[in-house]
């Protein structure tokens, strides 16, 4: 029934099939995957489509001029839910001055994501390096690293709320008991407290994934580097980083997407409608609770496309191999080889066609 990659590479004498995949397992696969895909369609696909359509409508809240009653139902408003962000901004004052609430939450989301992910990556990689070099006690450290990961985000939000309280332990440790910082008072310190809490919870997780990547690097590579006279920094930059990159990039991608939709932490620590820490998820949620479904859907769609864009950039620019399927990789590589082979044959036969994008024929 199942065929390994190794067997597939064996020379096949029969005529080439039109698709490398078409060997009669499609029907079985469709049958086995149907329930999963159906559930995903119902719980994710259809709601997304509903969300997109919803974003073009707006709940009617005007007074009917004839009856004097509040109108019900929804109106089609086209792109107005999106254009109103600039045409009729609902200005709020966060940390960056007065601006539209959506723009404010967009900047907050971006700021949290960039700062948190950079700090988490640096801390996480350092943790992984320490753990990889460790002589003993790795089990204990791994157990303690799993603690922040296992604590529910909302519980850690309440925990940090207590720590960052005006009369709390953060001010005491920093020696600010007499002149305390108001960490939770909807100001730029609130942003710092959110970042601290998020980094605490997820840096160990990146460390864990990076450690798994580090442990796959064979010792011979390091020995070779030492023989060639590489110092510690060169070894780290030229060997360790490139070799953990695949694992690290995927971990960082997932963390980035996770931070982009941050909700629990600011909501639990600072609260709703606090503009200095309001993220896109929180704003869309608040609009939903006010039954302003049209704008809420529009804002959630903006977040959706923002996330899609970031994921796309990660895959294109950093080469994040998110899917990680060996077989697919092999097939794609084979396709590329065949294409190169055909081009070569065409060139050999003198049938080469060049255009602006195909580069010079000499290459």
């Amino acid at each position: 029934m199942a065929v390994t990659t190794a067997e597939r590479t064996a020379p096949v004498a029969t005529k080439r099939k039109k698709n490398a995949f078409s060997d009669g397992q499609g029907a079985l696969a469709a049958m086995l995957l149907a329930p999963t895909m159906l559930v995903l369609l119902l719980v994710a696909g259809i709601p997304i489509i509903m969300s997109v359509t919803e974003s073009f409508f707006r709940t009617n809240d005007r007074i009917d001029p004839q009856t004097g009653l509040v109108q019900t139902g929804t109106n089609f408003v086209g792109f107005q839910n999106f254009t109103d962000i600039f045409a009729h901004p609902a200005t709020v004052v966060g940390v960056y001055g007065s601006m539209d609430r959506l723009v404010n939450s967009f900047i907050n989301t971006t700021l949290f994501t960039v700062v948190c992910v950079i700090l988490e990556t640096v801390l996480g990689v350092s943790m992984a390096l320490i753990m990889a070099k460790a002589f003993r006690g790795r089990g204990l450290v791994r157990a303690s690293i799993l603690v922040p990961w296992a604590i529910p985000t909302i519980v850690s939000a309440m925990m940090w709320k207590l720590i960052f309280n005006t009369s709390g332990v953060a001010n005491k440790v920093l020696g600010l008991t007499n002149n305390p910082i108001l960490w939770l008072a909807d100001n730029k310190y609130s942003q710092i407290s959110i970042i601290v809490a998020d980094v605490w919870k997820t840096a160990p997780f990146i460390g864990l994934l990076t450690l798994a990547g580090l442990q796959t690097i064979p010792a011979e590579v390091y020995e070779a580097a030492r023989v060639d006279g590489a110092n510690a920094w060169q070894t780290f930059v030229r060997i360790t980083l490139p070799m953990v990159k695949p694992a690290l990039v995927v971990a960082v991608l997932f963390r980035t997407l996770d931070t982009l939709r941050m909700f629990d932490l600011p909501y639990g620590m600072i609260g709703a409608n606090k503009y200095s820490v309001e993220t896109l998820s929180m704003f869309a949620y608040q609009e939903t609770m006010q039954t302003r479904y049209g704008p809420a859907a529009a804002y959630s769609i903006i977040l959706f496309f923002y996330i899609v864009l970031v994921a796309f950039l990660f895959v294109k620019l950093l080469g994040a191999d998110v899917v990680g399927d060996e077989e697919l990789k092999a097939v794609n590589a084979q396709r590329k080889r065949m294409k190169a082979l055909h081009q070569q044959q065409a060139k050999a036969a003198g049938r080469v066609r060049t255009n602006v994008t195909s580069g010079s024929a000499a290459s």
């Binding site: 002589f135 157990a143 940090w160």
Partner: protein, 306 residues
């Protein structure tokens, strides 16, 4: 070469060989060792200090919730009693959390196992597309689902029943992130099992279905179990969906309930009982995680999701 080398080795006495083989322990070796131990200690302190603060805050007197003493004095269990007082209704909240998490986990496993097996073993044209859809589902923001589902479940449309404050209203959206997580992890586990197992079973006369049921499923049990734990933790820790769809006092899940505890003194936040509730919510997860540490780390690194 060998002619030169052999006499040199012959001159070495066993003592000299032993001295050469002994690891070279100079100052820098010891410094490295101390630095490494210090680094490890730093990681442990970093990870556990805030958690320590939550635990000791839970063991203070309810009136001393915001105390900054590094040790509770006097230590007390009153907060843990207070958590289960009628006004907090936390026992009911834990039951609600269990119902939602267990149902979602079981449903994702039922749907996910066969799907993941197909993804790990079969070759078919749309595989890349299916994998991308599943990974995509685990990436998009939950709030995008929330908007239309909230409108749908609150009885806005006449053709749909009002599901607000009913378990299915939280379970159905939870599937949207639970199922991809489950399928992804299981696919990684099934890939690790050698194909020869099924081939041998089929040579011995099993049908493909039997080979899956009698050979693969028992062998994949640890993987299935790990996936179940990971999915359970993800749903148990979920906040936004539960906050939106389970709003009434008797239907709140543990995470929502503890974030909304109210004190006896009106606006005063009852930190003591919140921390106690946090400890109660977290301890079962920590026991699970520490007990199955190796498996969970393997699952996390194989799945790469969450």
């Amino acid at each position: 070469m060998t002619q030169v080398a052999t006499p040199v080795i012959a001159h070495l006495t066993p003592e000299e060989l032993g001295a050469l083989n002994k690891p070279h322990r100079d100052i820098s070796w010891w410094l490295g060792r101390i630095a490494s131990a210090a680094g490890m200690a730093l990681i442990v302190v970093y990870c556990l200090m805030p958690f320590y603060w939550m635990v000791i805050s839970a063991f203070r007197l309810p009136t001393m919730g915001q105390s900054t003493d590094y040790w509770p004095s006097p230590a007390s269990f009153e907060n843990f009693v207070g958590v289960f007082s009628p006004q907090n209704n936390f026992l009911r909240a834990i039951v609600n959390s269990l119902v939602v998490s267990v149902t979602t986990t079981v449903l994702t496993l039922v749907f996910g196992i066969i799907g993941a097996y197909a993804l790990a073993r079969l070759r078919f044209a749309a595989k890349g597309l299916v994998l991308s859809i599943i990974i995509g589902c685990s990436m998009f923001p939950g709030v995008t689902l929330l908007v239309p589902l909230f409108k749908l479940f609150t009885g806005t449309y006449s053709w749909f029943p009002n599901w607000l404050n009913q378990y299915q209203a939280a379970i159905i959206p939870s599937l949207s992130f639970g199922l991809p997580l489950c399928v992804w992890n299981l696919t990684a586990f099934f890939r690790q099992l050698p194909v020869e197992l099924e081939q041998a079973a089929m040579v011995d006369g099993c049908t493909p279905g039997q080979a899956f049921r009698k050979i693969i499923l028992p062998l994949a049990a640890p993987g299935v179990f790990t996936t179940a734990i990971l999915t359970f933790i993800a749903v148990w820790n979920e906040f936004m969906i539960a906050l939106t769809f389970l709003q009434s006092k008797d239907m709140k899940t543990a995470t929502v309930a503890l974030s909304q505890f109210t004190g006896n003194l009106g606006y005063n936040i009852p930190y003591g009982s919140i921390m106690a509730a946090g400890v109660i919510t977290t301890i079962p997860l920590l026991i699970l995680v520490l007990f199955f540490q190796r498996r969970i780390v393997a699952g996390l690194t194989a799945g790469g999701v969450k």
